[in-house]
């Protein structure tokens, strides 16, 4: 039996950004658990696919094209959701800009772009939604992060800094909103495949060999955890990054 605590029946969720092309799978899991879903990214194709999935589960869905680095567009998106559905219970920050270059070759604009998408957008979306969550004295914020929030990687200074920032943002805000019954958490994804049910990694690939589970992480691997962190079952969990890394985080 699926434990009833995982239910998101009657909840309204915004999934902001469309990093890693996992939008469809994440929206589908949330809708299966019972949530209505607002899709909010600039990727029209991904939003259409995700909307189809949500409808399959018989849930309401709304696609609002949004540049999640643009404060005004985010405020308008949230205002639209509030005026049409009256509330937001869950925010999933799923923006993710991947970027790798030796530090000396990183130009200022690239640095700003990575920080803007991976960190500032989390701040902007969370602030816009959080205002309503504080009014209603409840809320769930889940940000899709990375093992690179906690581990280093050459040529990935900007990306690591942005995800490390997400980890600290999560801890600090969790404390700030702890007494308002809003839980703020993140999922630290391991080396990921863009496919929802991705192919097995080549066994000769040195990266895949490094991963104890010998395959890349798929969207499907985080679905149930996303539902858990979005549900009332996790109301004593806050300020955490739960890693889904195929064992990478366990070894030296």
């Amino acid at each position: 039996m699926i434990p009833k605590e995982f239910s998101l029946e009657g909840k309204a969720a915004i999934v902001a950004g469309a990093g890693r092309s996992w939008l469809k799978t994440m929206a589908s899991y949330l809708a299966e658990a019972g949530a209505d879903i607002v899709l909010s990214s600039q990727d029209q194709k991904q939003m259409e696919e995700a909307a189809q999935e949500v409808k399959k589960w018989g849930r309401r869905t709304m696609a609002i094209p949004t540049d999640v680095t643009n404060c005004q567009q985010i405020e308008e998106m949230v205002a639209t959701v509030i005026s049409q559905w009256g509330k937001v219970d869950i925010l999933v920050n799923s923006m993710d800009l991947q970027f790798a270059k030796p530090l000396l070759e990183v130009v200022e604009d690239e640095w700003h772009q990575v920080i803007a998408t991976n960190l500032t957008a989390v701040f902007l979306c969370t602030k816009a939604v959080g205002r309503h969550m504080i009014e209603s004295k409840r809320g769930k914020i889940v940000t899709i992060s990375s093992v690179l929030a906690e581990r280093g990687l050459p040529n990935s200074t900007a990306y690591c800094a942005s995800k490390g920032g997400v980890g600290q943002f999560t801890k600090a805000l969790a404390l700030e909103w702890a007494r308002q019954n809003i839980q703020v958490n993140a999922i630290g994804v391991g080396w990921a495949s863009d496919e929802a049910h991705g192919e097995e990694a080549e066994p000769t690939d040195p990266l895949a060999r490094y991963i104890p589970l010998r395959r890349l992480c798929r969207a499907d691997d985080i679905g149930a955890l996303l539902v858990y962190l979005a549900s009332d079952a996790s109301s004593y969990v806050t300020g955490q990054t739960y890693f889904v890394s195929g064992g990478v985080m366990a070894h030296g």
Partner: protein, 263 residues
């Protein structure tokens, strides 16, 4: 997709199953469909949990064992396997904490040290060792260790507890890497403060020191255990999932300290 969370037909062994968290964990696993072997060194508490599980319509049995005694652990596990044919899930929940043992370190006896270390970490090793061969043979299995947030931070006068729980965390990681190719996943949950065996007033007094302002209810740990016991966590191994009302996120300043500094 969420059907992967179901545990129908699975058998789980829960150590410390007579305690506050152990009871809640046993009931949560049973509600998700698992049959439960409750083990504890306290027969009355263990029997009572098994009886509660049975009211949910799942099979339940109590087998007495002291997790610090490897022979007792081995025979408990052998009995569980022979009786029900399999053990799919092991939850190492047996533990002991002594709050506020305010005495100088030089007065802590060998026996006190060993009791803390043996129950909290050696017990988890003994139980994992007792079931590992069976799980490896079936190429599947889930081990969930109940660690503690205090395995990652220090606590005054709690040498045995903190040291042992830190051991549980690295035991989790090492065991996960050791058994990963055999289809076994090993993870830990690090609870913060939960209402268990102490008087209510003592928990009430501590609530203000937890960011969420409340002490956890043991039932709140259930969903997380079910998730880690299920196929939904197939890509998760060697991880530690704290559930602590924000305690580990805090620790830089007193709870409620929130300075304002304009640019």
């Amino acid at each position: 997709m969420l059907e992967k969370l179901a545990l129908d037909g699975k058998v789980a062994v829960v150590t410390g199953g007579g305690g506050g968290l152990g009871t809640a964990i046993s009931l949560a696993l049973a509600q998700a469909g698992a049959d439960i072997v409750v083990t504890d060194f306290r027969p009355e508490d263990g029997e009572s949990t098994a009886a509660e599980v049975a009211t949910l319509g799942r099979k339940a049995v109590f087998i007495a064992a002291d997790v610090t005694q490897s022979q007792e652990v081995n025979s408990m596990m052998a009995r569980a396997i022979s009786q029900w044919g399999t053990v799919d899930i092991l939850v190492n929940c047996a533990g002991v904490i002594r709050w506020g043992t305010r005495k100088p370190i030089w007065e802590i006896t060998d026996q006190e040290w060993h009791r803390g270390i043996d129950t909290n970490v050696t017990g988890a090793f003994f139980c994992s060792r007792a079931v590992a061969k069976h799980m490896v043979g079936r190429k599947r299995g889930r081990i969930i260790n109940i660690a503690s947030g205090w395995g990652m931070r220090g606590m005054r006068d709690s040498f045995m507890y903190c040291t042992a729980k830190a051991g549980v965390i690295t035991l989790t990681m090492s065991l996960a890497l050791t058994l990963v190719r055999d289809g076994i996943r090993v993870n830990a949950i690090a609870p913060g403060l939960f209402r268990t065996w102490e008087p209510k007033e003592r928990y009430d007094a501590r609530a203000a020191f937890i960011p969420t302002g409340r002490v956890g209810d043991p039932r709140e740990i259930g969903a997380l255990v079910v998730y880690l016991a299920s196929d939904a966590s197939d890509y998760v191994t060697g991880e530690v999932f704290p559930i602590d009302g924000g305690t580990l996120a805090s620790g830089s300043a007193p709870i409620g300290y929130a300075p304002l500094i304009p640019i």
